[in-house]
Symmetry: C2
Subunit: 209 residues, 2 copies
């Protein structure tokens, strides 16, 4: 799980064993790949509730892994999520601090997080979107997919917070977009990062896609 | 809370009101500054358990704010934490990917997170340490403070995980180092970031330190 020294590796291994013992019975219905993702989320948050609130659409792993194998882009809503994704050979982008995003947000009276999604779409984005913070970014992605303005292969939709986050994730789960969400207000950058890093790992394994 | 557009600001304000209604009775014993910090942690994680597991030493806010007012450095264990700290005029450093850190980790058979703390100390670090991930980094900081090799004004000690995290935080709370910790396995980068950003905000207010 990102460990690069023997001590780090031993810690990661022991943690994975503990996680399995804590949540194994709650995720027995998942595929091996889905289990790997949920285990990594729980490892990253030390919050076993994620075993119950994480929902993965049936096509999510396959569509995401194909996108990564094809070297498509990963787009994040905030820099914290980008900073945590560190083993992908393709591009990992975040436009929240881009001057164009700031202009677009002011012009359209939308949040910077939403404007950053729009900017990516205008620049021909194709790939996986990972949203760990802003419900407004998630709504914007759904809108851009609906109008055919954005080529999204899957969405890691785990915005966090008491205002709008739960509703935005429910809305995503009602679409045809391959997705992973967390039900309710919980979610956040570690969940987004754990999911994407898990997908990157899966894309390097010899899976039969 | 970092919002820079009207819509973002409205969401942040409403969230803060909800957080207050959810945890107000659990944090009545805290100072106004400490309340601000815990509210921001709960806002960032949507996890009200943090109102109960966050422990703040009496000198933590004052020592941290003085350090920030003096423009001292902030040192983080991983890049995700650094990426979330975006409104400080001083330096925010993370050495986990520094070639010197990697060498040091291999030579001393320690984790990269721990080696990154040692490297900072060797380079004359003075200021606030924020650890959102690695217990090994926290232990290293305590060791370097004890031997007088590191000038630490306060520690945001919120490593996460089922292996070592809780023990490392209990160890920190038994020292004289001004600190904020989260009891148990929970913690993580959003908690570290929320705490530091809250301190930065407090350092810009007219507090009588």
């Amino acid at each position: 799980m990102g460990a690069s020294t023997k001590q780090g590796y031993d810690i990661a291994l022991k943690s994975r064993e503990i996680v399995r013992s804590l949540i194994g019975d709650k995720i027995h219905h998942l595929s091996p790949e889905e289990k790997t993702i949920v285990e990594r989320i729980v490892h990253s948050t030390a919050d076993i509730e994620y075993a119950e609130i994480t929902r993965i659409s049936t096509d999510f792993v396959q569509e995401s892994v194909i996108s990564l194998k094809n070297g498509e882009d990963i787009l994040t809503d905030i820099n914290m999520v980008r900073a945590g994704i560190n083993k992908y050979e393709g591009e990992v982008n975040c436009f929240i601090s881009d001057p164009e995003t700031i202009k677009l947000a002011k012009k359209n009276e939308i949040t910077r997080a939403a404007a950053a999604m729009q900017l990516a779409a205008e620049n021909g984005f194709k790939g996986i979107v990972a949203i760990g913070n802003a419900p407004t970014a998630l709504y914007k992605v759904m809108e851009l997919v609906k109008t055919g303005e954005m080529d999204v292969k899957s969405v890691v939709g785990v915005p966090v917070g008491f205002v709008g986050a739960a509703d935005s994730k429910d809305a995503l789960s009602a679409t045809d977009i391959p997705h992973l969400i967390t039900k309710g207000p919980k979610g956040g950058t570690p969940v987004a990062v754990a999911t994407v890093n898990s997908l990157i790992r899966l894309s390097k394994d010899d899976l039969d896609y």
